[in-house]
C-alpha cells in the first residue's frame, strides 16, 4: 500500500465530457492520459511524480475496463524500455519518472528508442526536480532531448495547458515518429486548478490485441547499417516534421502586442513567474494581458527558427528566460540570430543568474534590468527612481537553524545508524558509502555516517575500489528500493563476482519508503495486483552471497551493533551482507492506528507504548539525541534556576519505537528514560494483580514520604 490511498482521486479519473476536474497538476496529467487513449502506462516513483504512479496503482479497475496496461517498472530504464511497444505498434504509451536522475537511468533505453523512432505516440513525463524542494543534484533533463533528438515540452504551469500538452505530445510524437518528453516542474506537479474533462478513450489497439498480431521490422533495430539511417532520418525527416507540426498546431504561444521594441522568449514553465514580475512592474494585468510581447516556448526542443526570427522582427532587444544551466536555449537562439545576420540584441543569462531557481525576486530583478537597459520608459517611476530604503529588518541568518529532512519519528532506520555510530565509537571511522533513499539522511547530523551517494542501487558498487579489503573493511548502505531497482545485480552480484571483502547493509523497511511507500518485491503486504513477499535474503543467496545476516527488529540496537561488529571482523572471504528489516514507521502507523483504535473500541486488550524522560535524572548533556535525532525527542528548559542546560523531553508524537531505551542501554548513557505502556481493556486477573501491586507500592511510597520533607512540584 502506498503512503496514501488514492481511491478518492481515482474517482476523478472517471469524469467524462462536460465535467470539471479540480485538483493537482500531476493528477490532471493522469486523467489526460486516459482521455488520449493511452494503451499502456508505467514508470518509477519519485517526487514530484509519485502521485501519478500511486493513483494508477489504485486505479486498476478503471484501467482494465479501458484495456490499459499499468506496469510498475523496476527502474526508469525499464520504464523507458517499455516504450518499445510503441516502436512497431500504433499504441500510445506513457511512462513517468523524476528528472534529471530518472532520465539518467533511463538514458540507455531512451537513446535506443529515439534512434528506432516510434509509430505510436510515446510520452515520457518527467517531474523536473530542480530548485527549492529538490532532493537531487541540480541538473537539467534538457540535454538528453538534445543528444538523443527527442522533443521536449515545457507547458505553461496551469492545468488546462498541461492537459493540452499531453494530447499535443502524443500527436507530435506520432507526426514526427519521435518520442516526446513532457517536463513538469515540482510546483507544476503540485499546483491546483481546474480543467474541463472529456470522456476517457479506449486505445484503438490494446496491448493485449497487439499480442495476437505481432509485428517486427528490422529496420527499426539499432544495429548498423540501420543506426546510420536512423541518424539521417532524425535530421532529414523527423525534425522537419516536428517543426511543421509545432508551427501548424501552434504549440508555442505568443502574447502581447505585435509591435514593440522589446520582447521576452521564455520556457512555458516560466510563464507565471514572468507574468508576475510584469504585473509587479505594471506591465501586465491580472489575466496576464501584457504590454511586453512574449514568445512562450511550450516546446523547448526543438527550437523553431522561423517562428523565433519572426518574433524578433522589428525588435531591438529580446530577453531569454531560461531556468537552469547551461543556457541551451539561449545558445540555440543566438546561433539563429547570428546566422540570420540579425541586429537584435539578445539578453538572458547576462541579466539573469546562470545557476539556480528563478524565484520571484530573481525574475523581477532580471526583467527590471532588461527593461531598464532596453526600454526604460516602460518602467514605472518608482522602479526608475526608487524611494528611500525602508527600515532594515534584523538579520536572522545566524538565528534560524537549517532544517534538513531527517528520519521520521520512530523510524526503524535510526537504530541501525545509532548502532553504526556506536561501532565507530569503538573501532574508529570506516569508509562508508550511502545510496538513494531515506537512509541517506544518516549522512547528516546527528549521525554523519556515509560520505557519498552515487546513484540508486549503487551504494555497494561505489565502494568497489575498496573491495580488495584492508585493515578496516569498507561499509555500504543500500535500501530495499535501491536493492531491487539496480542493486541486486550492479552492487551485490558484482561484490560476489569480485570476491569483495566489504560489508553491505541492506536497509529493508518493507516499501520504497522515500518515494511514498510503494510496494516492491520484498514488501510484506498483500497486494492484489503485484507479487510481493520475496525475501531479500533469498535473492542474496541466489546471486551467491554466502555470508548473510538477517536482523528482524532493527530497534534491537545491541544486536544490530553485534551483527555489524561480526561483519567487520569475521574471517569469512567474500561479501558480508546484512539485511536489517523493520517496517517504515510512517506506513506502519498509518496501517495500525485505525486498527488499534478499533480494537480499543471493541474492548480488546491493547498496549500502547510511549517513552518519557525523568527530567530530574536527565543532566542535559544530550548524548541521547546525538544517537537519535528523533523529532519526538526534543529539549525543554526547566523552570529551575539551578539548571543551565535544557533537558531531554519526549513529546506527544512519540510512537514508542523503543530506540531511546535501547540506545540508552547499548551506549550506557543514563537511566533517565522510561517506557510507559498504557494497557487498554486489561483482563480481570491482570487488573487484580496490578491493583495489588499498586496498593503495596502506594503504601511504601506513602511511608517514605511521611519520613522526609517533601517539596511538591512547582505550581504552574
Amino acid at each position: 500500500m502506498a503512503e496514501r490511498s488514492f481511491k478518492a482521486e481515482v474517482k476523478h479519473l472517471r469524469l467524462g465530457d462536460g465535467a470539471t476536474f479540480t485538483g493537482e497538476g500531476i493528477l490532471a496529467i493522469t486523467k489526460a492520459l486516459l482521455e488520449c487513449g493511452v494503451g499502456y502506462v508505467g514508470g518509477y516513483q519519485g517526487a514530484p511524480i509519485s502521485h501519478l504512479m500511486d493513483v494508477l496503482a489504485d486505479a486498476e479497475d478503471l484501467l482494465s475496463e479501458l484495456g490499459v496496461r499499468f506496469e510498475a517498472n523496476a527502474s526508469e530504464a525499464a520504464a523507458a524500455a517499455m516504450l518499445a511497444a510503441s516502436v512497431h505498434y500504433p499504441i500510445r504509451g506513457a511512462v513517468t519518472f523524476k528528472g534529471s536522475v530518472g532520465v539518467n537511468v533511463a538514458s540507455d533505453a531512451l537513446a535506443n528508442l529515439a534512434s528506432s523512432g516510434v509509430t505510436g505516440g510515446a510520452l515520457i513525463i518527467v517531474g523536473e526536480d530542480y530548485g527549492e524542494g529538490s532532493s537531487i543534484m541540480q541538473e537539467r533533463s534538457h540535454a538528453f532531448a538534445m543528444k538523443s533528438q527527442f522533443w521536449l515540452l515545457d507547458p505553461r504551469p496551469n492545468l488546462p495547458s498541461i492537459v493540452k500538452a499531453v494530447g499535443q505530445g502524443f500527436e507530435l510524437s506520432e507526426a514526427s515518429n519521435t518520442p516526446v518528453m513532457l517536463m513538469v516542474r515540482i510546483r507544476s506537479c503540485h499546483v491546483t486548478g481546474s480543467f474541463a474533462t472529456r470522456d476517457n478513450k479506449r486505445p484503438p489497439l490494446t496491448v493485449r490485441d497487439a499480442l495476437s498480431e505481432p509485428r517486427r521490422d528490422f529496420s527499426r533495430v539499432v544495429l548498423p547499417p540501420m543506426s546510420y539511417a536512423h541518424e539521417q532520418d532524425k535530421i532529414k525527416n523527423r525534425w522537419p516534421a516536428a517543426e511543421k507540426f509545432i508551427v501548424e498546431e501552434e504549440l508555442n504561444e505568443q502574447f502581447g502586442p505585435k509591435d514593440a521594441p522589446v520582447g521576452i522568449v521564455l520556457q512555458g514553465g516560466m510563464y507565471n513567474s514572468v507574468i508576475r514580475a510584469l504585473q509587479r512592474l505594471g506591465l501586465a494585468d491580472i489575466h496576464g494581458d501584457t504590454e511586453v510581447p512574449l514568445y512562450v516556448l511550450n516546446v523547448t526542443y526543438p527550437l523553431v527558427r522561423d517562428e523565433f526570427l519572426a518574433f524578433c522582427e522589428g525588435k531591438d532587444a529580446v530577453m531569454v528566460v531560461e531556468e537552469g544551466q547551461p543556457e541551451f536555449i539561449e545558445q540555440g537562439l543566438s546561433t539563429m540570430l547570428y546566422r540570420a545576420g540579425s541586429p537584435v540584441k539578445l539578453h538572458g543569462k547576462d541579466m539573469l543568474p546562470m545557476a539556480g531557481e528563478y524565484t520571484g525576486q530573481v525574475m523581477l530583478d532580471g526583467l527590471t534590468a532588461f527593461l531598464r537597459d532596453a526600454a526604460p520608459a516602460l518602467l514605472p517611476d518608482k522602479v526608475r527612481a526608487p524611494n528611500a530604503e525602508a527600515e532594515p529588518i534584523p538579520d536572522l541568518s545566524k538565528t534560524v537553524p537549517i532544517r534538513p529532512p531527517s528520519f521520521c519519528t520512530g523510524c526503524p532506520e535510526r537504530p541501525i545508524f545509532a548502532a553504526m555510530k556506536l561501532v565507530e565509537q569503538e573501532s574508529g571511522k570506516h569508509q562508508i558509502t550511502g545510496d538513494i533513499g531515506c537512509h541517506l539522511f544518516a549522512t547528516l547530523p546527528p549521525f554523519e555516517i556515509g560520505g557519498s551517494t552515487m546513484g540508486y542501487g549503487l551504494g555497494p558498487a561505489s565502494n568497489a575500489a575498496f573491495d580488495g579489503g584492508g585493515e578496516k573493511r569498507a561499509i555500504s548502505f543500500i535500501g530495499d528500493g535501491g536493492f531491487w531497482h539496480n542493486g541486486l545485480s550492479s552492487s551485490i552480484g558484482n561484490m560476489v563476482f569480485n570476491k569483495s571483502d566489504s560489508v553491505a547493509v541492506i536497509v529493508d523497511n518493507y516499501y520504497s519508503a522515500a518515494t511514498g511507500g510503494q510496494d516492491i518485491p520484498s514488501s510484506r503486504a498483500d497486494n492484489q495486483t503485484k507479487s510481493t513477499k520475496h525475501p531479500i535474503t533469498e535473492a542474496l543467496k541466489g546471486v551467491g552471497v554466502d555470508w548473510v545476516r538477517q536482523v528482524d527488529r532493527t530497534y534491537d540496537v545491541k544486536k544490530m551493533r553485534a551483527v555489524l561488529q561480526e561483519a567487520l571482523t569475521t574471517d569469512h572471504k567474500g561479501p558480508k551482507v546484512i539485511v536489517a528489516s523493520s517496517e517504515c514507521m510512517l506506513n506502519r502507523q498509518r496501517r495500525e492506528k485505525p486498527l488499534r483504535a478499533k480494537a480499543i473500541k471493541e474492548k480488546r486488550r491493547v498496549e500502547v507504548p510511549r517513552f518519557g524522560v525523568d527530567e530530574d535524572i536527565c543532566t542535559g548533556d544530550h548524548a541521547c539525541i546525538r544517537l537519535s535525532g528523533c523529532p519526538s525527542l526534543s529539549l525543554k528548559r526547566l523552570d529551575d534556576p539551578l539548571r543551565d542546560d535544557p533537558v531531554a523531553s519526549i513529546d506527544q508524537s512519540c510512537v514508542g519505537c523503543g530506540n531511546c531505551g535501547e540506545v540508552a542501554d547499548a551506549a550506557v548513557l543514563c537511566p533517565s528514560f522510561y517506557q510507559a505502556d498504557v494497557v487498554h481493556n486489561p483482563g480481570p486477573w491482570e487488573r487484580w494483580r496490578s491493583n495489588l501491586s499498586a496498593t503495596v507500592i502506594g503504601w511504601l511510597q506513602g511511608r517514605r514520604a511521611r519520613g522526609r520533607i517533601e517539596f511538591a512540584e512547582m505550581a504552574e
Binding site: 513567474s273 520571484g360 538565528t399 530530574d616 517506557q675 514520604a705 517539596f711
Partner: protein
Amino acid sequence: MTVQEPILEGRTPDPKVDQIIKLAVMAVGGQGGGVLTNWIEAVGRAGGYAVQATSVAGVAQRTGATIYYIEMAPSGDRPPVFSLAPAAGDVDIIVAAEMMEAGRAILRGFVTPDRTTLIASTHRALAVSEKTVPGDGIASSEEVRAAAEIAAQRMIMFDMEKAAIEAGSVISASLFGALAGSGALPFAREDFEAAIRVSGRGVEPSLRAFASGYETARKSVSGEAESAETATTKGPAVRGPSRLMAEWNALAAEVGALPEAVRELALPGLRKVVDFQDMAYGRDYLGRVKAVLARDDAARDYLLTREAAKYIANAMAYDDVIRVADIKTRGSRFARVKAEVRVKDDTLLHLTEYMHPRAEEIAGMLPAGLGKRIEADPKWMARLDRWFNKGRRLRTDSLPSFAMLYMLGGMRGWRRRTLRHAIEMEHLENWLASALAHLPDNYDLAVEVLRCRRLVKGYSDTHARGLSKFDRVMEGVTLVAGRDDAADWTRRLREAALRDEKGEGLDGALQTVRSFV
C-alpha cells in the same frame, strides 16, 4: 546600439492585481501543512474566489522545512494568472506553524511592513542542530519576535500547538482558526468551519482546535490583553513531619537572612540538597555558602556567592544510584508519568525503566576504603562487570523491581560512607578551593571558575567526558590566570567545551590560549 524611445508608455498597475491575496504556509514536514492548504483552498473557492495552491513537499516532508503557497482573487470571466511561488516583499499573509519557520519567512523576505500579516505559533520544534549541542543550543525565539515586530504589518503570535493538543487535534486546525480570527481573509467564521466539515476527517477535534485558535486570534486583533498566564511564582509547597518541618523552617530562615541576590539561588539550592540527602546535609550546604559569602564583596552584589550557591548545590546533589532509585520510586513521579501518558481509570500502566549499571556504580556504593581497593583491582572490577554490567529493564509497576529500587533509594543513610561520596566531596572541595584561590587577585576569574562546574554532568562515559572537559578547562585557567582577561578566557573555554561532544571546540580554544601564553 541606440535605445529607441519605446512605442508603449509605462502604465499604472492593474488595480485588480492588488486584489490577489498571497498566502504562504511555512511548516515543518509532518505538521499537516497540506491539510491546512486544502482547507484554505476550499474556503476560498466556496467564497467565490479563484484559488491556486502549490507546494514543494517532496523529501522535505520528512521533518524538513516545507512551504505551501496559495493565491486567490475574486472569480471573473477569465482566470487570473497566479504565481506558483512566493516572492520576497510580495506576500500578504504568512502562516508559520513554528517559531523558527516564522523566522525563516522573515529571513526570506516574505514578511514586510507594508503588507504582511504574520500568523505564527510560538512553540518550537527544535532542529537537530539545536538539540545535539551538549550545552544550550536552542535558537532565540526572542530574536525572531523582535524581528517580526519590525517586519510584519500585523502579527498574531501564540502557542497554537498547545491550543491544538488541548483540543485533542493537530496544529493545522488551530492555525486555520488563527487565520480565520485574524480577519486577513475576507470570509466568515462559518465559511472556515464549513471547509473543515467538508473535509470529513477528525471534524470535531479540528473544530475545537479551530475555535481555540480563532478566539485567541480575535482577542489579539481587538487588542485585548492576552490572559497572561500569570506565572504563579509561589514556591513549592513544603510538607513533612513536624520535627523535620521545624528544622526546615530554621534552615529556610537562615537563607532568608542572606542577601537577596544569594537568596534567590540558595533557597532552591537548599531544597535540592535536602531533597537529595537530609537536613544535616542542608546545613553543610549553607555552611559552604556562608563561607564563600564571608569573603564576598557587597559592591559586586555578591555575584560570587550567588554562583557558589547554585553550583555547590549541584555538586552536592550528584547523580548516584541512590538518587536515581529514589526519584524513580517516588509517588509524585508515578503521578506525573500517569498524567503525561494519560492513564485513565479503565487503563493500566506498565512502567519500564532502562538501567545499565557498571562496575564503577557498584564500587561507588561500597564503603570508601573498600571501594577504592576494589576500583584499583582490575580483576575485581572485571568480576563486578561480569555480575552487574548489563542492560536491565525494570518494571517499576511490579513489586519485585519496585522493591529493589525502593530499597536502593532508601540507602540515603549509607550514602555519606560510600566511595562515590568521597570522590564527589573531594572534587567539590578542590574546585571550590581553586576558585576561591583567585579571589584576592581576580574576582571575576573566581566567578568564572565556579561556573565551570556546569561541565560536570551526565552518567558513566558522558560523566567521564564531562569531567575530562572540566579538567582541561581548569588547565586552561592555570595558563591564563594572572592575565587581565583571564575571566573572559575562562568563559570562552567553558563555552567552547559545551559546543560539541568530543571537545574539538575546546581543543581549538586551548590551542589559541597556548599560542599566546
